[in-house]
């Protein structure tokens, strides 16, 4: 079956997209999870829908406009929550729904039918274009470079921002660069699993990896591997029973998490039993 599938370019593209999604989400997801930015990332994800709507309205590639919109709202959240008296989670909630509202408005203002709208909401890894692959490759390269060159400082600032500030480190710069990368990772992975599901690619592999390792670098590597297995399994399931790939990928990831968790619980149980004897 696999050889037969590999003959199609779109299958190759989607496999490649799965690999690239695992890399970018593995890296950025570890940052998001360890810094407890999951809700913030959900906000960026949904507000980027505004960019997709504007893209449709202006007749541009929705991923490009979503990327711009996503990065700007990410900067907005970072800026407003640090400076004003409004609570950070409230700012996120406002931008979350505002972006969705903008998206819906512009899609309804666009004359005619909005093609592929569903693929942005639920993802469609099988329709990933060559441009998408190029953008995702670029992003993965940038992330690998940034996280290997600045690893020390990223971990330092993530662990204790205030202390980093007392050491005269440009904490705001680090925060802005990383939140920008978070937004780009989210938007470029929307094609793979969709707006509604993208947050899971950034959290499930990390939580699974975190069961086995408590080291930042190892969580990144573990998440990438787990993401790859989940993406591959999901694609096979999606092909076999003809369901949207986004859902089957997330389903596979959660199954892997549950298996890993039960494995850990059983192991702990036996360790305890052995100790008693």
């Amino acid at each position: 079956m696999i050889l037969e599938l590999l003959q199609y370019k779109f299958i190759l593209n989607s496999l490649l997209a799965g690999v690239l999604a695992s890399i970018s989400c593995g890296i950025i997801g570890t940052y998001i999870v360890t810094r407890r930015m999951v809700f913030l990332s959900g906000g960026i994800t949904h507000s980027s829908f505004g960019g997709i709507g504007i893209g449709y309205y202006l007749g541009l590639n929705p991923i490009i406009t979503a990327a711009i919109f996503g990065v700007l709202s990410a900067f907005g959240i970072e800026f407003i929550s640090k400076r004003s008296a409004i609570r950070e989670d409230s700012v996120i909630g406002i931008l979350w729904s505002f972006g969705m509202a903008i998206g819906i408005m512009f899609i309804f203002l666009t004359p005619g039918y909005a093609p592929n709208l569903m693929s942005y909401l639920f993802g469609s890894i099988l329709t990933v274009s060559t441009l998408d692959i190029l953008l995702m490759s670029g992003l993965s390269i940038v992330l690998i470079l940034v996280f290997s060159i600045f690893y020390r400082i990223i971990v330092f600032v993530s662990y204790d921002q205030e202390f980093a500030r007392t050491h005269k480190i440009a904490v705001s710069l680090v925060n802005y660069v990383l939140i920008g990368l978070v937004a780009l990772t989210i938007v470029l992975n929307i094609k793979v699993v969709g707006i509604i599901l993208v947050i899971s690619l950034l959290t499930i592999p990390q939580s699974t990896a975190n069961l086995f390792t408590k080291n930042f670098k190892n969580i990144i590597i573990g998440s990438i591997v787990i993401g790859l297995i989940g993406a591959f399994l999901g694609l096979v399931i999606s092909y076999k029973i003809n369901i949207p790939s986004g859902a089957s990928i997330i389903f596979s990831l959660v199954m892997i998490f549950l298996i890993a968790k039960s494995f850990q619980v059983i192991k702990r149980y036996f360790n305890l039993k052995n100790q008693k004897m």
Partner: protein
């Protein structure tokens, strides 16, 4: 004895609310200052001003160079433990090493000298055996020592501790103060505490912050002084830790 830092008529606070009013304060080498005062009185604000985390609305904060050493502008900081995310995936030795990163020197890896420094600091505080432990598995006292190691690994000229006696037991508290007494031979120490009783025997001078600042050039405070300075703090000593006998007072 060199002057490290001078605050001159500083006004500071948050969101346009002035908390500290007209504070003037100097810190010298060898100082061991206890900052006490009621909650909301501005202890943390004062720390943040000294640490450069907030800019004063008015007044100046000046650091003085020490021609004898290269430790200038180096401040070691031990934050309150509840500000630290204990689930963060980081090992003890990584936390301590991070205390050596300064300014723009954040590229690349830690050098051999830096690793040795971290190792020495861990040994000095007697926590070398937990250097590969993830911080989530540490007890309150161990965590405090790790944070102290991070604060002193760069050999700062000034060490600032924010409520180091919370989340730890009495025995550890005594041990901590003994360590600080030793460290005080190398660096000036400023310690913030809501609990003046136990620290008063170790500190050399007391500063009371309650919007304004009253600096006692001694470690003994009387009830009269507290009343005059409007400094409602509790004078209680715990356990069998050595302490200065404070004046009799009613509870």
């Amino acid at each position: 004895m060199g002057k490290i830092l001078e605050l001159e008529s500083v006004f500071a606070g948050y969101n346009d609310e002035v908390i500290l009013k007209d504070i003037s304060f100097e810190i010298f080498d060898d100082d061991f200052i206890g900052i006490i005062g009621p909650n909301g009185g501005g202890k943390t604000t004062l720390l943040n001003v000294i640490l450069g985390l907030i800019k004063p609305y008015k007044g100046s904060v000046v650091f003085f160079d020490d021609i004898r050493s290269d430790r200038n502008n180096k401040v070691g900081y031990l934050p309150q433990q509840n500000k630290i995310d204990k689930k963060f995936p980081i090992k003890v030795k990584e936390v301590v090493l991070s205390g050596l990163i300064y300014g723009s020197a954040f590229l690349g890896r830690y050098s051999k000298t830096e690793k040795q420094k971290a190792e020495d600091t861990l040994k000095r505080l007697g926590i070398c055996d937990i250097k590969d432990t993830t911080i989530g598995e540490l007890s309150g006292g161990q965590m405090q020592k790790v944070l102290l190691a991070r604060a002193i690994v760069s050999s700062p000229r000034l060490l600032i501790l924010d409520e180091p006696n919370t989340f730890v037991d009495n025995q550890f508290e005594g041990e901590l103060y003994e360590i600080l007494k030793e460290l005080n031979k190398e660096m000036a120490i400023v310690i913030v505490s809501h609990d003046v009783g136990t620290i008063s025997s170790y500190i050399k001078t007391i500063a009371c912050v309650n919007r304004n600042l009253h600096y006692h050039k001694s470690n003994k405070i009387t009830e009269e002084q507290l009343t005059i300075y409007n400094c409602p703090i509790k004078l209680i000593t715990h356990g069998d830790v050595p302490h200065t006998v404070l004046k009799q007072h009613q509870h």
